[in-house]
Symmetry: C2
Subunit: 201 residues, 2 copies
């Protein structure tokens, strides 16, 4: 087959095929789309890929994605600098920010502790978080790691390290997801909902 397409086109099909969720047929379709697209828009895609790999780095303070040393959130003067919300990855910040309910700062751990996968605490940005707490301005750490075994484990580990500092440690509430039904809620979710029941206002 490789002798039929031109070499350059084969290479593009191959490269598209490496992307997640893009099978051989989709890769072919995308490559032909690029072949037929006007040069300007095809080049815009190539340039955007290039820019993402060269311009985006991690914020020096919180490890969020940034295009300069400090990310947009850390350099926002309206943020409450006494609150740090700890997340596993930059995508989590986006989900939280979409709610519009957060006026705090963040700290991106860059993953969760998972010894079986070879991810130890020192592979994460935990020491930088401790440093931020040591610097004094922080009053509360909100753990927003994923509500699963490794996320909870990571949060627990971090809170044990922060025990001796004068900082409040909270985590996002657990309970029934709004819009769901009790009939289909798992035992774990119901247990959380019962244990953490809240006053009806």
């Amino acid at each position: 087959m490789s002798a039929i397409y031109t070499q350059t086109l084969n290479r593009l099909i191959e490269e598209f095929g490496r992307l997640p969720g893009i099978g051989p047929k989709s890769a072919e379709r995308l490559a032909f789309y690029i072949l037929k697209a006007d040069t300007k828009s095809a080049m815009a895609l190539a340039a955007a890929i290039n820019d993402v790999k060269t311009k985006i780095k991690n914020c020096k303070t919180c490890y969020n994605l940034a295009e300069s040393d400090t990310c947009d959130i850390c350099s926002d003067p309206k943020r409450d600098k006494s609150l740090i919300c700890v997340v596993e990855q930059p995508k989590d910040i986006i989900s939280l920010e979409k709610t519009g309910a957060c006026k705090w700062l963040y700290h991106v751990l860059q993953g969760h502790i998972a010894p079986l996968e070879g991810i130890e605490p020192e592979d994460l940005t935990i020491d930088k978080l401790i440093q931020r707490v040591k610097d004094g301005q922080v009053k509360e750490i909100i753990m927003a790691t994923n509500p699963n075994m490794s996320g909870d484990g990571t949060a627990l580990y971090i809170s044990s390290l922060l025990k001796n500092y004068n900082v409040k440690i909270t985590r996002l509430a657990r309970g029934l997801p709004t819009g769901s039904t009790i009939e289909y809620a798992s035992g774990k979710i119901l247990t959380d909902a019962i244990t953490g029941r809240q006053p009806l206002e």
Copy 2:
């Protein structure tokens, strides 16, 4: 939302989102994949897009995709130069070549006649095909346009132009698709199969 991602990442998500079959969620996933991928493989994709837009052109003889003036098929000395198979687009060549049954040359029309879509005969490469016939070596033209209204119309138009040249004009056989069932064949397919019935060998 655009204030949350960095500007460069937003631009890549937007560019991926322009590709066919890539929705907003997929575009985001692809952009994050590029962000996390090692620089070498991400740059390889950017370079491949770039190369496709700069290196691939049309063969000067048959209008197949080529990276030099003449495509691999036209420059293959083993091909029978007295047979030209006429197709609508380069992808059709690939399908035909995969059968391994073709040792002929091709001519890519770059579409089909469709007056309602504003595609007139002069928008296609029909005059170049006539020129190839005039040049003398060709004995047979095999019409392999799509077996539908516009493909058949295009084939008919071309054969009317070639009437006065000493060249045989054929088209790919119509009939029951191998592996199908008569029960589900359409009336049009059955009519073709009955009209074109072949001796059982």
